[in-house]
Protein backbone atom coordinates (compact mmCIF):
# COMPACT_ATOMS: atom_id res chain seq x y z
CA UNK A 1 0.00 0.00 0.00
CA UNK A 2 2.86 2.37 0.90
CA UNK A 3 4.62 1.60 -2.37
CA UNK A 4 1.41 2.19 -4.34
CA UNK A 5 1.06 5.66 -2.72
CA UNK A 6 4.66 6.42 -3.45
CA UNK A 7 4.29 5.34 -7.09
CA UNK A 8 1.30 7.64 -7.61
CA UNK A 9 3.28 10.60 -6.26
CA UNK A 10 6.22 9.59 -8.44
CA UNK A 11 3.85 9.46 -11.39
CA UNK A 12 2.62 13.00 -10.74
CA UNK A 13 6.21 14.24 -10.47
CA UNK A 14 7.12 12.32 -13.62
CA UNK A 15 4.27 13.98 -15.52
CA UNK A 16 5.34 17.46 -14.35
CA UNK A 17 8.98 16.84 -15.27
CA UNK A 18 7.99 15.28 -18.61
CA UNK A 19 5.82 18.33 -19.41
CA UNK A 20 8.68 20.63 -18.50
CA UNK A 21 11.06 18.70 -20.75
CA UNK A 22 8.56 18.58 -23.62
CA UNK A 23 7.93 22.34 -23.46
CA UNK A 24 11.68 22.99 -23.44
CA UNK A 25 12.37 20.53 -26.26
CA UNK A 26 9.52 21.98 -28.31
CA UNK A 27 11.08 25.44 -27.99
CA UNK A 28 14.38 24.34 -29.49
CA UNK A 29 12.98 22.06 -32.16
CA UNK A 30 10.51 24.73 -33.22
CA UNK A 31 13.25 27.37 -33.22
CA UNK A 32 15.61 25.21 -35.27
CA UNK A 33 12.98 24.18 -37.83
CA UNK A 34 11.59 27.72 -38.17
CA UNK A 35 15.08 29.04 -38.87
CA UNK A 36 15.05 26.82 -42.00
CA UNK A 37 11.73 28.14 -43.35
CA UNK A 38 10.85 30.77 -45.87
CA UNK A 39 9.34 33.85 -44.23
CA UNK A 40 6.11 33.63 -46.25
CA UNK A 41 5.73 29.97 -45.22
CA UNK A 42 6.18 31.03 -41.62
CA UNK A 43 3.51 33.73 -41.86
CA UNK A 44 1.12 31.25 -43.49
CA UNK A 45 1.70 28.56 -40.86
CA UNK A 46 4.09 29.16 -37.94
CA UNK A 47 3.84 25.53 -36.85
CA UNK A 48 4.48 23.67 -40.08
CA UNK A 49 7.70 21.95 -41.03
CA UNK A 50 9.89 23.70 -43.61
CA UNK A 51 8.60 22.97 -47.11
CA UNK A 52 10.08 20.24 -49.28
CA UNK A 53 12.73 17.73 -48.29
CA UNK A 54 15.67 18.47 -46.06
CA UNK A 55 17.77 19.43 -49.08
CA UNK A 56 15.17 22.10 -50.00
CA UNK A 57 15.00 23.72 -46.62
CA UNK A 58 16.24 27.30 -46.43
CA UNK A 59 19.82 26.58 -45.45
CA UNK A 60 20.79 29.81 -47.17
CA UNK A 61 19.15 31.66 -44.26
CA UNK A 62 22.27 30.75 -42.32
CA UNK A 63 24.53 31.84 -45.17
CA UNK A 64 22.69 35.18 -45.19
CA UNK A 65 23.16 35.61 -41.44
CA UNK A 66 26.87 34.76 -41.59
CA UNK A 67 27.37 37.31 -44.38
CA UNK A 68 25.11 40.10 -43.17
CA UNK A 69 25.25 39.84 -39.39
CA UNK A 70 26.34 43.26 -38.17
CA UNK A 71 25.84 45.58 -35.23
CA UNK A 72 25.77 49.34 -35.62
CA UNK A 73 27.09 51.31 -32.67
CA UNK A 74 27.45 55.03 -33.00
CA UNK A 75 28.39 55.51 -36.61
CA UNK A 76 30.40 52.31 -36.89
CA UNK A 77 29.20 48.97 -38.20
CA UNK A 78 30.73 45.84 -36.66
CA UNK A 79 30.73 42.73 -38.84
CA UNK A 80 30.74 39.13 -37.66
CA UNK A 81 34.54 38.48 -37.71
CA UNK A 82 35.21 41.48 -35.46
CA UNK A 83 32.29 40.55 -33.17
CA UNK A 84 33.63 36.99 -32.88
CA UNK A 85 37.11 38.30 -32.07
CA UNK A 86 35.65 40.49 -29.32
CA UNK A 87 33.72 37.48 -28.05
CA UNK A 88 36.78 35.22 -27.93
CA UNK A 89 38.82 37.84 -26.05
CA UNK A 90 36.02 38.60 -23.58
CA UNK A 91 34.91 35.03 -22.98
CA UNK A 92 38.23 33.16 -22.93
CA UNK A 93 40.28 35.74 -21.07
CA UNK A 94 37.37 36.65 -18.81
CA UNK A 95 36.73 33.00 -17.87
CA UNK A 96 40.40 32.42 -17.17
CA UNK A 97 40.72 35.52 -14.99
CA UNK A 98 37.47 34.79 -13.14
CA UNK A 99 38.77 31.30 -12.35
CA UNK A 100 42.48 31.78 -11.69
CA UNK A 101 42.17 34.68 -9.23
CA UNK A 102 39.94 32.92 -6.66
CA UNK A 103 41.92 29.72 -7.34
CA UNK A 104 45.22 31.30 -6.38
CA UNK A 105 43.84 33.30 -3.45
CA UNK A 106 42.03 30.22 -2.11
CA UNK A 107 45.26 28.20 -2.36
CA UNK A 108 47.17 30.69 -0.23
CA UNK A 109 44.43 31.18 2.37
CA UNK A 110 43.77 27.42 2.63
CA UNK A 111 47.38 26.20 2.79
CA UNK A 112 49.08 28.95 4.80
CA UNK A 113 48.39 29.61 8.43
CA UNK A 114 48.88 33.39 8.63
CA UNK A 115 46.39 35.64 10.42
CA UNK A 116 45.54 37.60 7.27
CA UNK A 117 44.48 34.35 5.55
CA UNK A 118 41.74 33.91 8.14
CA UNK A 119 40.74 37.57 7.75
CA UNK A 120 40.44 37.21 3.96
CA UNK A 121 38.37 34.03 4.35
CA UNK A 122 35.99 35.69 6.80
CA UNK A 123 35.77 38.80 4.58
CA UNK A 124 34.71 36.72 1.56
CA UNK A 125 31.98 35.01 3.59
CA UNK A 126 30.65 38.37 4.81
CA UNK A 127 30.72 39.88 1.31
CA UNK A 128 28.88 36.92 -0.21
CA UNK A 129 26.18 37.20 2.46
CA UNK A 130 25.84 40.99 2.12
CA UNK A 131 23.41 42.07 -0.61
CA UNK A 132 24.49 45.48 -1.88
CA UNK A 133 22.12 47.04 -4.38
CA UNK A 134 22.71 49.64 -7.09
CA UNK A 135 26.49 49.64 -7.17
CA UNK A 136 26.76 49.69 -10.97
CA UNK A 137 26.79 53.52 -11.34
CA UNK A 138 29.63 53.67 -8.84
CA UNK A 139 31.56 50.98 -10.73
CA UNK A 140 31.21 52.92 -13.98
CA UNK A 141 32.16 56.14 -12.21
CA UNK A 142 35.35 54.51 -10.85
CA UNK A 143 36.15 53.15 -14.33
CA UNK A 144 35.56 56.64 -15.78
CA UNK A 145 37.94 58.10 -13.19
CA UNK A 146 40.61 55.53 -14.11
CA UNK A 147 39.97 56.13 -17.84
CA UNK A 148 39.07 52.46 -18.21
CA UNK A 149 35.38 52.74 -19.03
CA UNK A 150 34.28 51.12 -22.30
CA UNK A 151 37.57 49.24 -22.75
CA UNK A 152 38.61 45.60 -22.76
CA UNK A 153 41.14 46.26 -20.02
CA UNK A 154 38.47 47.82 -17.80
CA UNK A 155 35.91 45.09 -18.47
CA UNK A 156 38.44 42.32 -17.81
CA UNK A 157 39.86 44.13 -14.78
CA UNK A 158 36.43 43.88 -13.18
CA UNK A 159 36.70 40.08 -13.46
CA UNK A 160 39.82 40.09 -11.28
CA UNK A 161 37.78 39.58 -8.12
CA UNK A 162 37.87 36.57 -5.78
CA UNK A 163 34.78 37.72 -3.85
CA UNK A 164 32.45 34.96 -5.05
CA UNK A 165 31.24 31.51 -4.06
CA UNK A 166 33.86 29.77 -6.21
CA UNK A 167 36.55 31.00 -3.85
CA UNK A 168 34.84 28.87 -1.19
CA UNK A 169 34.71 25.90 -3.56
CA UNK A 170 38.46 26.18 -4.22
CA UNK A 171 39.18 26.86 -0.56
CA UNK A 172 37.49 23.61 0.44
CA UNK A 173 39.24 21.73 -2.38
CA UNK A 174 42.72 22.94 -1.32
CA UNK A 175 42.01 22.46 2.35
CA UNK A 176 41.17 18.81 1.75
CA UNK A 177 44.40 18.05 -0.10
CA UNK A 178 46.90 15.98 1.91
CA UNK A 179 50.02 17.76 3.15
CA UNK A 180 52.35 14.82 2.48
CA UNK A 181 52.95 15.69 -1.19
CA UNK A 182 53.67 19.30 -0.30
CA UNK A 183 56.07 18.32 2.49
CA UNK A 184 57.85 15.78 0.27
CA UNK A 185 58.33 18.44 -2.41
CA UNK A 186 59.68 20.91 0.14
CA UNK A 187 62.13 18.32 1.43
CA UNK A 188 63.31 17.81 -2.16
CA UNK A 189 64.07 21.53 -2.31
CA UNK A 190 61.03 22.82 -4.20
CA UNK A 191 60.21 26.47 -3.60
CA UNK A 192 56.75 27.80 -2.73
CA UNK A 193 55.95 28.66 -6.35
CA UNK A 194 57.00 25.21 -7.59
CA UNK A 195 54.93 23.48 -4.91
CA UNK A 196 51.91 25.59 -5.83
CA UNK A 197 52.14 25.15 -9.61
CA UNK A 198 53.61 21.65 -9.96
CA UNK A 199 52.14 19.81 -6.96
CA UNK A 200 49.02 21.50 -5.57
CA UNK A 201 47.37 23.00 -8.66
CA UNK A 202 47.37 19.72 -10.65
CA UNK A 203 45.73 18.00 -7.68
CA UNK A 204 42.78 20.41 -7.78
CA UNK A 205 42.56 20.78 -11.57
CA UNK A 206 39.05 19.27 -11.74
CA UNK A 207 37.66 22.08 -9.63
CA UNK A 208 39.50 24.59 -11.84
CA UNK A 209 38.15 23.06 -15.04
CA UNK A 210 34.57 22.92 -13.75
CA UNK A 211 34.55 26.53 -12.60
CA UNK A 212 36.29 27.66 -15.83
CA UNK A 213 33.56 25.98 -17.87
CA UNK A 214 30.83 27.55 -15.73
CA UNK A 215 32.30 31.02 -16.27
CA UNK A 216 32.81 30.26 -19.98
CA UNK A 217 29.14 29.47 -20.42
CA UNK A 218 28.09 32.50 -18.35
CA UNK A 219 30.29 34.92 -20.26
CA UNK A 220 29.40 33.44 -23.66
CA UNK A 221 25.74 34.16 -22.87
CA UNK A 222 26.39 37.47 -21.11
CA UNK A 223 25.05 40.47 -22.99
CA UNK A 224 24.15 42.78 -20.10
CA UNK A 225 27.75 43.11 -18.86
CA UNK A 226 29.15 44.02 -22.31
CA UNK A 227 26.31 46.54 -22.84
CA UNK A 228 27.47 48.31 -19.68
CA UNK A 229 31.25 47.93 -19.75
CA UNK A 230 32.13 47.15 -23.40
CA UNK A 231 29.62 49.31 -25.20
CA UNK A 232 31.87 50.02 -28.19
CA UNK A 233 33.12 46.43 -28.54
CA UNK A 234 30.08 44.26 -29.23
CA UNK A 235 30.26 40.57 -28.44
CA UNK A 236 28.09 37.91 -30.07
CA UNK A 237 25.46 37.74 -27.28
CA UNK A 238 25.01 41.51 -27.40
CA UNK A 239 24.90 41.42 -31.20
CA UNK A 240 22.15 38.81 -31.21
CA UNK A 241 20.26 40.80 -28.56
CA UNK A 242 20.53 43.98 -30.66
CA UNK A 243 19.34 42.24 -33.79
CA UNK A 244 16.41 40.50 -32.10
CA UNK A 245 15.24 43.71 -30.47
CA UNK A 246 15.67 46.16 -33.34
CA UNK A 247 13.62 44.40 -36.03
CA UNK A 248 15.44 46.01 -38.95
CA UNK A 249 15.46 44.88 -42.60
CA UNK A 250 15.80 41.17 -43.34
CA UNK A 251 16.60 40.55 -39.68
CA UNK A 252 13.05 41.52 -38.80
CA UNK A 253 11.93 38.25 -40.41
CA UNK A 254 11.45 35.47 -37.88
CA UNK A 255 13.46 32.70 -39.65
CA UNK A 256 16.47 35.01 -40.10
CA UNK A 257 16.22 36.18 -36.49
CA UNK A 258 16.17 32.58 -35.32
CA UNK A 259 19.25 31.78 -37.42
CA UNK A 260 21.07 34.54 -35.54
CA UNK A 261 19.91 32.97 -32.27
CA UNK A 262 21.19 29.57 -33.38
CA UNK A 263 24.67 31.12 -33.82
CA UNK A 264 24.63 31.77 -30.10
CA UNK A 265 22.92 28.49 -29.21
CA UNK A 266 24.78 25.84 -31.21
CA UNK A 267 28.39 26.43 -30.00
CA UNK A 268 27.37 26.33 -26.35
CA UNK A 269 25.36 23.15 -26.93
CA UNK A 270 28.45 21.55 -28.47
CA UNK A 271 30.49 22.57 -25.43
CA UNK A 272 27.76 21.32 -23.12
CA UNK A 273 27.56 17.94 -24.86
CA UNK A 274 31.35 17.49 -24.54
CA UNK A 275 31.64 18.76 -20.97
CA UNK A 276 28.20 17.96 -19.55
CA UNK A 277 29.67 15.83 -16.78
CA UNK A 278 31.93 18.65 -15.58
CA UNK A 279 29.25 21.33 -15.95
CA UNK A 280 26.61 19.30 -14.16
CA UNK A 281 29.02 17.97 -11.56
CA UNK A 282 27.98 18.44 -7.99
CA UNK A 283 29.54 21.61 -6.79
CA UNK A 284 28.94 22.36 -3.18
CA UNK A 285 30.48 24.60 -0.58
CA UNK A 286 32.33 21.53 0.60
CA UNK A 287 34.15 21.16 -2.68
CA UNK A 288 33.41 18.96 -5.64
CA UNK A 289 31.59 15.67 -5.42
CA UNK A 290 32.76 13.24 -8.08
Amino acid sequence: MKNKKFTSISTILFVILALYTLILAYHFIWGLLTSLKDYEDYLYNPLSLPEGGIANWKWDNYAYVFQKFAVKIGGKQFKLPEILLNTVIYVVLGSFICTIVPYVVAYVTARYNFWFCKVINAFVIVVIALPIVGGTPAVISVLNTLNLYDSFFGALLLKFSFLNMYYLVFFAAFQNLPREYQEAAEIDGAGELAVMIKIMFPMAYKAFLTVFLIFFVDLWNDYQGPILYLYSYPVLARGVYNITNNYAGEFSKTPIMLCACMMLFVPIMIIFSIFSKQLMGNISMGGLKE
Binding site: K2, K5, F6, I9, S10, L13, F14, L17, Y20, T21, L24, H27, W30, G31, N45, P46, L47, V105, V108, Y112, F114, F123, A129, P131, V133, G134, G135, T136, P137, A138, I140, S141, V142, N144, D150, L157, F160, S161, F162, E192, W220, N221, Y223, Q224, I227, L228, Y231, A237, V240, N245, C261, L264, F265, I268, M269, F272, L279, M280, I283, S284
Partner: protein
Protein backbone atom coordinates in the same frame (compact mmCIF):
# COMPACT_ATOMS: atom_id res chain seq x y z
CA UNK B 1 80.31 39.34 5.87
CA UNK B 2 77.27 37.62 7.24
CA UNK B 3 75.17 35.46 4.90
CA UNK B 4 71.66 36.84 4.65
CA UNK B 5 69.30 33.88 4.99
CA UNK B 6 65.55 34.09 5.00
CA UNK B 7 63.84 31.64 7.33
CA UNK B 8 61.36 29.16 5.93
CA UNK B 9 58.47 30.91 7.62
CA UNK B 10 59.44 34.29 6.17
CA UNK B 11 59.78 32.74 2.71
CA UNK B 12 56.21 31.49 3.01
CA UNK B 13 55.11 34.91 4.27
CA UNK B 14 56.76 36.77 1.39
CA UNK B 15 55.30 34.31 -1.11
CA UNK B 16 51.78 34.64 0.34
CA UNK B 17 51.97 38.44 0.31
CA UNK B 18 53.27 38.57 -3.27
CA UNK B 19 50.43 36.33 -4.44
CA UNK B 20 47.76 38.23 -2.54
CA UNK B 21 48.85 41.82 -3.18
CA UNK B 22 47.11 42.36 -6.53
CA UNK B 23 43.79 40.71 -5.56
CA UNK B 24 43.79 42.73 -2.32
CA UNK B 25 44.40 45.98 -4.23
CA UNK B 26 41.55 44.99 -6.54
CA UNK B 27 39.22 44.48 -3.54
CA UNK B 28 40.29 47.86 -2.13
CA UNK B 29 39.47 49.63 -5.40
CA UNK B 30 36.56 47.70 -6.85
CA UNK B 31 34.75 46.62 -3.73
CA UNK B 32 35.59 48.95 -0.86
CA UNK B 33 36.33 51.89 -3.16
CA UNK B 34 33.21 51.36 -5.25
CA UNK B 35 30.93 51.09 -2.22
CA UNK B 36 32.54 54.20 -0.74
CA UNK B 37 32.04 56.01 -4.06
CA UNK B 38 28.40 54.93 -4.14
CA UNK B 39 27.85 56.56 -0.75
CA UNK B 40 29.68 59.72 -1.86
CA UNK B 41 27.72 59.94 -5.13
CA UNK B 42 24.42 59.40 -3.30
CA UNK B 43 24.96 62.64 -1.37
CA UNK B 44 26.22 64.62 -4.39
CA UNK B 45 25.07 66.11 -7.65
CA UNK B 46 27.02 65.79 -10.90
CA UNK B 47 28.04 68.80 -12.94
CA UNK B 48 28.12 67.65 -16.56
CA UNK B 49 30.18 70.66 -17.66
CA UNK B 50 32.99 70.36 -15.13
CA UNK B 51 32.59 66.54 -14.61
CA UNK B 52 32.72 67.07 -10.87
CA UNK B 53 30.51 65.88 -8.03
CA UNK B 54 29.49 68.40 -5.39
CA UNK B 55 27.80 67.72 -2.08
CA UNK B 56 24.05 68.33 -2.07
CA UNK B 57 22.93 66.73 1.18
CA UNK B 58 19.79 64.61 1.09
CA UNK B 59 18.40 66.01 -2.18
CA UNK B 60 18.92 62.73 -4.04
CA UNK B 61 17.08 60.75 -1.38
CA UNK B 62 14.21 63.27 -1.53
CA UNK B 63 14.12 62.78 -5.29
CA UNK B 64 14.04 59.00 -4.80
CA UNK B 65 11.04 59.27 -2.45
CA UNK B 66 9.32 61.65 -4.85
CA UNK B 67 9.85 59.28 -7.80
CA UNK B 68 8.69 56.29 -5.75
CA UNK B 69 5.34 58.01 -5.27
CA UNK B 70 4.97 59.82 -8.61
CA UNK B 71 6.67 57.71 -11.26
CA UNK B 72 4.50 54.90 -12.67
CA UNK B 73 7.51 52.63 -13.16
CA UNK B 74 8.56 52.77 -9.52
CA UNK B 75 5.01 52.68 -8.14
CA UNK B 76 4.37 49.47 -10.01
CA UNK B 77 7.80 48.07 -9.09
CA UNK B 78 6.71 47.58 -5.48
CA UNK B 79 3.82 45.36 -6.52
CA UNK B 80 5.73 43.62 -9.31
CA UNK B 81 8.90 42.92 -7.32
CA UNK B 82 6.75 41.46 -4.54
CA UNK B 83 4.92 39.24 -7.01
CA UNK B 84 8.23 38.08 -8.48
CA UNK B 85 9.64 37.39 -5.01
CA UNK B 86 6.60 35.36 -3.93
CA UNK B 87 6.42 33.47 -7.23
CA UNK B 88 10.06 32.66 -7.86
CA UNK B 89 11.37 32.77 -4.30
CA UNK B 90 8.30 31.19 -2.71
CA UNK B 91 6.43 29.02 -5.19
CA UNK B 92 9.53 28.32 -7.25
CA UNK B 93 11.52 27.09 -4.26
CA UNK B 94 8.65 24.89 -3.11
CA UNK B 95 8.18 23.34 -6.56
CA UNK B 96 11.94 22.82 -6.88
CA UNK B 97 12.06 21.01 -3.54
CA UNK B 98 9.23 18.68 -4.49
CA UNK B 99 10.58 17.92 -7.96
CA UNK B 100 14.13 17.43 -6.71
CA UNK B 101 13.02 14.40 -4.69
CA UNK B 102 12.25 12.62 -7.96
CA UNK B 103 15.81 13.25 -9.17
CA UNK B 104 17.27 12.34 -5.77
CA UNK B 105 15.36 9.05 -5.68
CA UNK B 106 16.76 8.25 -9.15
CA UNK B 107 13.34 7.43 -10.56
CA UNK B 108 12.59 6.61 -14.20
CA UNK B 109 14.47 8.90 -16.64
CA UNK B 110 15.97 10.97 -13.80
CA UNK B 111 19.25 11.36 -15.73
CA UNK B 112 17.41 12.66 -18.78
CA UNK B 113 15.39 15.11 -16.68
CA UNK B 114 18.61 16.31 -15.03
CA UNK B 115 19.96 17.36 -18.41
CA UNK B 116 16.68 19.02 -19.38
CA UNK B 117 16.56 20.94 -16.09
CA UNK B 118 20.12 22.14 -16.55
CA UNK B 119 19.67 23.35 -20.14
CA UNK B 120 18.06 26.75 -19.37
CA UNK B 121 21.15 27.49 -17.28
CA UNK B 122 23.44 26.77 -20.26
CA UNK B 123 21.47 28.37 -23.07
CA UNK B 124 21.46 32.12 -23.58
CA UNK B 125 18.41 33.84 -22.13
CA UNK B 126 18.27 35.93 -25.34
CA UNK B 127 17.69 32.75 -27.38
CA UNK B 128 15.07 31.46 -24.94
CA UNK B 129 13.23 34.79 -24.89
CA UNK B 130 13.21 35.17 -28.68
CA UNK B 131 11.80 31.70 -29.25
CA UNK B 132 9.29 32.09 -26.41
CA UNK B 133 8.20 35.47 -27.79
CA UNK B 134 7.48 34.04 -31.26
CA UNK B 135 5.65 31.06 -29.82
CA UNK B 136 3.49 33.34 -27.64
CA UNK B 137 2.79 35.96 -30.32
CA UNK B 138 2.59 33.86 -33.48
CA UNK B 139 2.19 30.17 -32.75
CA UNK B 140 -0.37 30.36 -29.92
CA UNK B 141 -2.82 32.68 -31.80
CA UNK B 142 -2.45 30.43 -34.87
CA UNK B 143 -3.34 27.33 -32.83
CA UNK B 144 -6.25 29.15 -31.14
CA UNK B 145 -7.61 30.20 -34.51
CA UNK B 146 -7.09 26.91 -36.37
CA UNK B 147 -8.16 24.49 -33.64
CA UNK B 148 -10.75 26.46 -31.68
CA UNK B 149 -11.81 29.23 -34.07
CA UNK B 150 -10.75 31.84 -31.50
CA UNK B 151 -9.25 35.03 -32.83
CA UNK B 152 -6.69 36.36 -30.39
CA UNK B 153 -3.67 38.62 -30.36
CA UNK B 154 -0.26 37.45 -29.22
CA UNK B 155 -0.02 36.65 -25.52
CA UNK B 156 2.66 39.29 -25.03
CA UNK B 157 0.40 41.96 -26.56
CA UNK B 158 -2.39 41.38 -24.07
CA UNK B 159 -2.79 42.85 -20.58
CA UNK B 160 -1.71 39.44 -19.27
CA UNK B 161 1.80 39.85 -20.70
CA UNK B 162 3.35 40.35 -17.27
CA UNK B 163 1.92 37.04 -16.05
CA UNK B 164 3.19 35.31 -19.19
CA UNK B 165 6.69 36.64 -18.60
CA UNK B 166 6.44 35.67 -14.93
CA UNK B 167 5.64 32.10 -15.98
CA UNK B 168 8.67 32.18 -18.29
CA UNK B 169 10.92 33.43 -15.46
CA UNK B 170 9.66 30.69 -13.15
CA UNK B 171 10.10 28.07 -15.88
CA UNK B 172 13.71 29.05 -16.60
CA UNK B 173 14.84 29.30 -12.96
CA UNK B 174 13.21 26.06 -11.79
CA UNK B 175 15.85 23.77 -13.24
CA UNK B 176 18.92 25.03 -11.39
CA UNK B 177 17.14 24.98 -8.02
CA UNK B 178 15.96 21.41 -8.59
CA UNK B 179 19.50 20.28 -9.35
CA UNK B 180 21.00 22.10 -6.34
CA UNK B 181 18.39 20.63 -4.00
CA UNK B 182 18.82 17.11 -5.38
CA UNK B 183 22.58 17.53 -5.03
CA UNK B 184 22.11 18.45 -1.37
CA UNK B 185 19.77 15.48 -0.90
CA UNK B 186 22.40 13.10 -2.29
CA UNK B 187 24.38 13.82 0.90
CA UNK B 188 21.68 12.21 3.05
CA UNK B 189 22.83 8.87 4.40
CA UNK B 190 21.02 5.87 2.90
CA UNK B 191 20.81 4.27 6.33
CA UNK B 192 18.60 7.11 7.60
CA UNK B 193 16.15 6.66 4.71
CA UNK B 194 16.11 2.89 5.21
CA UNK B 195 15.48 3.33 8.93
CA UNK B 196 12.58 5.68 8.15
CA UNK B 197 11.08 3.15 5.73
CA UNK B 198 11.40 0.40 8.34
CA UNK B 199 9.61 2.66 10.82
CA UNK B 200 6.73 2.93 8.33
CA UNK B 201 7.28 6.49 7.08
CA UNK B 202 5.24 7.33 3.99
CA UNK B 203 6.51 9.59 1.23
CA UNK B 204 5.24 12.81 2.74
CA UNK B 205 6.56 11.95 6.22
CA UNK B 206 9.95 11.07 4.77
CA UNK B 207 9.98 14.36 2.85
CA UNK B 208 8.90 16.47 5.87
CA UNK B 209 10.72 14.78 8.77
CA UNK B 210 13.88 13.49 7.10
CA UNK B 211 14.70 15.26 3.84
CA UNK B 212 13.73 18.85 4.77
CA UNK B 213 15.71 18.92 8.06
CA UNK B 214 18.73 17.23 6.47
CA UNK B 215 18.97 19.75 3.64
CA UNK B 216 17.70 22.74 5.60
CA UNK B 217 20.99 24.66 5.25
CA UNK B 218 20.53 24.58 1.45
CA UNK B 219 16.85 25.59 1.74
CA UNK B 220 17.88 28.43 4.05
CA UNK B 221 20.49 29.60 1.51
CA UNK B 222 17.94 29.72 -1.30
CA UNK B 223 15.39 31.56 0.82
CA UNK B 224 17.99 34.11 1.92
CA UNK B 225 19.08 34.54 -1.72
CA UNK B 226 15.42 35.10 -2.70
CA UNK B 227 15.11 37.89 -0.12
CA UNK B 228 18.46 39.38 -1.13
CA UNK B 229 17.36 39.46 -4.78
CA UNK B 230 14.12 41.38 -4.06
CA UNK B 231 15.52 44.67 -5.36
CA UNK B 232 17.76 43.19 -8.07
CA UNK B 233 15.57 40.62 -9.84
CA UNK B 234 14.86 41.85 -13.37
CA UNK B 235 12.57 38.95 -14.32
CA UNK B 236 14.23 39.07 -17.81
CA UNK B 237 12.21 42.21 -18.59
CA UNK B 238 15.25 43.87 -20.19
CA UNK B 239 15.65 40.88 -22.50
CA UNK B 240 11.99 41.10 -23.51
CA UNK B 241 11.64 44.87 -23.82
CA UNK B 242 15.06 46.56 -23.82
CA UNK B 243 14.98 49.97 -22.18
CA UNK B 244 11.27 50.57 -22.50
CA UNK B 245 8.55 48.01 -21.82
CA UNK B 246 5.37 48.08 -23.90
CA UNK B 247 3.45 48.76 -20.71
CA UNK B 248 4.95 51.51 -18.47
CA UNK B 249 3.83 49.59 -15.37
CA UNK B 250 5.92 46.53 -16.29
CA UNK B 251 8.87 47.31 -14.08
CA UNK B 252 10.63 45.67 -11.19
CA UNK B 253 13.18 47.53 -9.09
CA UNK B 254 16.01 45.48 -10.61
CA UNK B 255 14.85 46.20 -14.15
CA UNK B 256 14.40 49.89 -13.38
CA UNK B 257 17.92 50.24 -11.96
CA UNK B 258 19.61 48.38 -14.81
CA UNK B 259 17.69 50.08 -17.62
CA UNK B 260 18.38 53.57 -16.22
CA UNK B 261 22.12 52.83 -16.11
CA UNK B 262 22.02 51.54 -19.70
CA UNK B 263 20.14 54.63 -20.88
CA UNK B 264 22.78 56.83 -19.18
CA UNK B 265 25.52 55.13 -21.26
CA UNK B 266 28.38 56.40 -19.11
CA UNK B 267 26.88 59.86 -18.55
CA UNK B 268 26.94 60.29 -14.77
CA UNK B 269 24.13 62.86 -14.45
CA UNK B 270 21.57 60.36 -13.15
CA UNK B 271 24.06 58.36 -11.08
CA UNK B 272 23.52 60.30 -7.83
CA UNK B 273 19.80 59.49 -7.76
CA UNK B 274 20.40 55.87 -8.77
CA UNK B 275 23.12 55.48 -6.13
CA UNK B 276 20.82 56.97 -3.48
CA UNK B 277 18.13 54.50 -4.54
CA UNK B 278 20.64 51.66 -4.28
CA UNK B 279 21.69 52.70 -0.79
CA UNK B 280 18.08 52.98 0.32
CA UNK B 281 17.36 49.48 -0.99
CA UNK B 282 20.51 48.11 0.63
CA UNK B 283 19.59 49.63 4.00
CA UNK B 284 16.18 47.97 3.73
CA UNK B 285 17.24 44.55 2.52
CA UNK B 286 20.40 43.87 4.58
CA UNK B 287 18.70 43.78 8.00
CA UNK B 288 15.79 41.81 6.53
CA UNK B 289 18.17 39.25 5.04
CA UNK B 290 20.18 38.86 8.24
CA UNK B 291 16.98 38.66 10.33
CA UNK B 292 15.53 35.96 8.10
CA UNK B 293 18.78 34.02 8.37
CA UNK B 294 18.79 34.32 12.16
CA UNK B 295 15.14 33.34 12.45
CA UNK B 296 15.70 30.30 10.26
CA UNK B 297 18.82 29.36 12.23
CA UNK B 298 16.90 29.60 15.50
CA UNK B 299 13.52 28.13 14.59
CA UNK B 300 14.29 25.98 11.56
CA UNK B 301 14.18 22.18 11.81
CA UNK B 302 17.26 20.56 13.25
CA UNK B 303 18.84 17.30 12.22
CA UNK B 304 18.35 15.96 15.77
Amino acid sequence: MKDFKISNKNKKLIFALVILILPIIHVCVFYIGVNFKQILIAFSEYNIVSNVYSFNGLENFKEVFRKMTEEVALRSSLKNSTIVFLTIGGLGNFLSLVLSVYIYKKRFLHGFFKIALFLPHVISIVVLVVIFRFICNDAVPYVANELFGISMEGLLYTDKAFNVILFFALFTTLGTSVLMYSSAMSGISESIIEAAEIDGFNYIQEFWFIIIPMIFPTIKTFIVIAFAAYFTNQMHLFTFYGNRPDNPSYYTYGYYLYSKVVIANGNETTYPMLSAMGILFTVIIVPITFTIKRVMDKYGPSVD
